[in-house]
């Protein structure tokens, strides 16, 4: 997983509450066998005027020009600013996959749905919770070319005018993102313990380890 560094990036304002995972990535894309390639289908129903299907070539699809991500000014946005309860609905992990694949690294909202929030960290996305007034103030400020600097180490967001906003994050989650460690990396840091467990268990339950030689 990519380590999260300090970023300064364009902000796209998505002024909606309760954006559910079916809006983030509609259900027909769940048939895919891949975890990459969902970026072109992010917010599919809002972004395009036709119906998206898996594996489709999106380059010539009719765009909904009113949708924020279709405006040229927000094209390279890496930070998504949105409202409360972002990522609600089904637990599909395709939602963070799509946001990450599109290029987002940070999502700022006044609250997130639980499972979505957890899934973000497994996929290198930083979800930041700010109080509703602060989120509101950012929505007031954001215009074309508006950039924010997000510093995970310092847990701060700096606005173009120099205002510094502090945010909270659990220390273990911060550690993982800063070091680009996913759950698997963390577990593999305990490889010695897993091997020791296997050795001890092989004495108690040798029938489970008869094929051991072939493997190591």
């Amino acid at each position: 997983m990519k380590a999260f560094e300090k970023i300064t990036a364009l902000v796209a304002p998505l002024d909606r509450a309760n954006v559910d995972t079916d809006a983030i990535i509609p259900k027909q894309f769940l048939k895919s066998i891949r975890r990459t390639g969902f970026g072109p289908f992010l917010f599919d129903e809002w972004r395009y005027l036709d119906r998206g299907e898996p594996e489709m070539d999106c380059t010539n699809r009719p765009l909904n020009e009113d949708f924020i991500l279709n405006k040229p000014a927000y094209k390279n946005a890496r930070i998504l600013l949105t409202r409360e309860n972002f990522g609600c609905g089904s637990s599909r992990e395709h939602a963070p996959w799509a946001l990450e694949d599109y290029g987002f690294r940070v999502i700022i909202a006044s609250s997130f749905a639980d499972i979505f929030y957890n899934n973000c960290f497994k996929n290198g996305l930083l979800p930041i919770v700010l109080d509703a007034e602060t989120v509101d103030s950012l929505f007031q400020e954001v215009t074309e070319g508006y950039q924010l600097t997000v510093d995970l180490q310092e847990q701060t967001i700096t606005t173009p005018s120099g205002r510094v906003i502090h945010f909270d994050i659990e220390p273990t989650r911060k550690y993982r993102l800063l070091n680009g460690l996913d759950d698997i990396d963390l577990s593999l840091q305990h490889s010695d313990k897993i091997r020791a467990y296997e050795q001890e268990r092989a004495k108690r339950a040798p029938w489970l380890f008869v094929d051991q030689e072939q493997e190591t």
Binding site: M1, K122, I194, A205
Partner: protein, 499 residues
């Protein structure tokens, strides 16, 4: 009784307080024994973090085509290898056709998923039973059949009905795609221990009452959220009296009672079932395994966080009428009235279910006419289920209003055995279709499905809206009840058929 006493003395409301809970108060933790779940958990903990989460060692990982492709892709993207290849066993079951298999899979999306599984298994060196292998079948059916899932194991699969394997005294539960990748890469999972619940089914069930009726009655009693946060151990005389097949049916639906895992203690039935299976240990290793497995039961003084008791003698053939497995009644009942329901959320779900299912309050269950009958799924597609259905099917012909009655064995080996016993001929002569193994119309990912508005008697485990096809209406029943519905065209009490 105790619960009501507590309510009177002002502690909390009257919920399932039984003798066992009282015992909880009079023993201290250190004096008490362990539950089966405690034993299985303790045996697999690699270490526990300060926050209470543990790294749990996984003995067996089952893989199917729907939830694994992204996990394999993740492995590839990060350059990782499976920790222990031979602990994985894969099979395609959800997308496979149940007819004319030699022609391959017509739907390109389904075909791609199945081919991707094959490719991934080859690339990572994982054993897979191919679609035309006799050992192919529903992952939760072939695991025990092969002895690939054994007592005392931790077993996971990217599929919620992994709870099935708990029937052999194993800790088995479903996981998500990230966790599939985690198990492939580390042979472990990060888990928090759940609470202990015991469901005691006391006494003896009436003749003809099956495991399916018992588990539906349990879900009707505790509700689909009743097991949330718990691992359920099913116990009592009526559970012990079940075959391994029946026990699997019960544990299969633990997830429908809200519990990720269901368990049944090891006894002679379990040991006899596993003797001589292809992946079962042999010789001295078998003897060692057996003596370990025989300890896999809750200690007499073990404490449960919650105990629910059900009287087996009171259980009649069950039929679900709604769009949740808890909306279930006996075959001689009528459709219940939502107005009688106190809980507003449940009342609303009953009202919605009545509309979706197109049923009337007070309508007798036996009056419900059906369009299709499905006998199969990881709940009820084992040999015993097919025998029970054939026993009924031999007494008649599929009724004229039934457009399709299909029997889908759980595995190629079950299909073969059924054919040796002549069950296929009974079904075909009665007008049923005899198909190839797979998930089939349990979830309609392949070509087998209900059309909008069609009503089906199904031996599967979920009656959610659209589960068996868009707009389809599902009634969950036992194999004998499904077969009886097929030959009469409507629900009847299969235990009284022919009286």
């Amino acid at each position: 009784m105790e619960g009501c006493l507590q309510a009177l003395t002002g502690y909390h409301s009257c919920v399932f307080i039984t003798a066992a809970d009282r015992r909880h108060n009079s023993f201290t933790e250190s004096m008490s024994g362990k539950t089966l779940y405690d034993k299985l958990w303790d045996d697999h903990v690699v270490f526990t973090e300060n926050d209470g989460s543990s790294l749990l060692y996984i003995d067996r990982h089952l893989v199917h085509e729907v939830t694994s492709p992204q996990a394999f892709e993740g492995l590839r993207l990060s350059g990782r290898k499976p920790w222990r290849r031979s602990r994985n066993l894969a099979v395609a079951d959800h997308n496979v056709p149940t007819t004319n298999r030699e022609a391959g899979i017509a739907d390109p999306v389904s075909r791609l998923q199945v081919e991707t599984l094959e490719k991934n298994c080859r690339e990572f060196g994982i054993t897979e039973f191919a679609m035309n292998d006799k050992r192919q079948g529903i992952i939760h059916v072939i695991g025990p059949e092969q002895g690939a899932t054994l007592p005392g194991m931790t077993i996971v699969c990217g599929d919620s009905h992994t709870s099935t394997h708990g029937a052999s005294g194993a800790l088995a539960f479903g996981i998500g795609t990230s966790e599939v990748e985690h198990v492939l890469a580390t042979q472990c999972l990060v888990q928090k221990k759940s609470k202990n619940m015991q469901v005691l089914v006391r006494g003896t069930a009436a003749p003809g009452i099956t495991a399916k009726d018992i588990v539906l009655a349990i879900i009707g009693t505790i509700g689909t959220a009743g097991g949330n946060g718990y691992t359920i151990e099913f116990a009592g005389e009526a559970i012990q009296a079940l075959s391994m097949e029946g026990r699997m049916t019960v544990c299969n639906m633990a997830i429908e009672a809200g519990a990720r895992a269901g368990l049944i203690a090891v006894d002679d039935v379990t040991i006899d079932y596993y003797r001589g299976r292809p992946f079962s240990p042999r010789g001295d290793l078998w003897d060692m395994a057996e003596s370990y497995w025989r300890q896999l039961h809750s200690d007499a003084d073990a404490l449960f966080d919650k105990v629910v008791e059900i009287d087996a003698a009171g259980i009649k053939p069950q039929v679900t009428w709604g769009t949740s497995p808890e909306l279930v009644v006996s075959v001689d009942d009528v459709i219940p009235d939502p107005e009688q329901e106190q809980d507003p959320v449940k009342k609303q779900s009953m009202i919605n279910a009545l509309a979706y299912m197109d049923l009337e309050v007070g309508q007798p269950i036996t009056g419900i006419q059906l369009d299709k009958v499905f006998i199969g799924s990881c709940t009820n597609s084992r040999i015993e289920d097919l025998r029970a259905a054939a026993e009924v099917a031999r007494r008649g012909k599929v009724a004229s209003n039934i457009k399709l009655a299909m029997v889908v064995p759980g595995s190629g080996l079950i299909k073969e055995q059924a054919e040796q016993e002549g069950l296929d001929r009974i079904f075909v002569e009665a007008g049923f279709e005899w198909r190839d193994p797979g998930c089939s119309m349990c979830l309609a990912m392949n070509a087998d499905r209900l059309e909008p508005g069609e009503r089906c008697a199904s031996t599967s485990n979920r009656n959610f809206e659209g589960r068996q096809g868009y707009g389809g209406r599902t009634h969950l029943v036992s194999p004998a009840m499904a077969a009886a519905a097929a030959i009469t065209g409507h629900f009847v009490d299969a235990t009284k058929l022919g009286e």
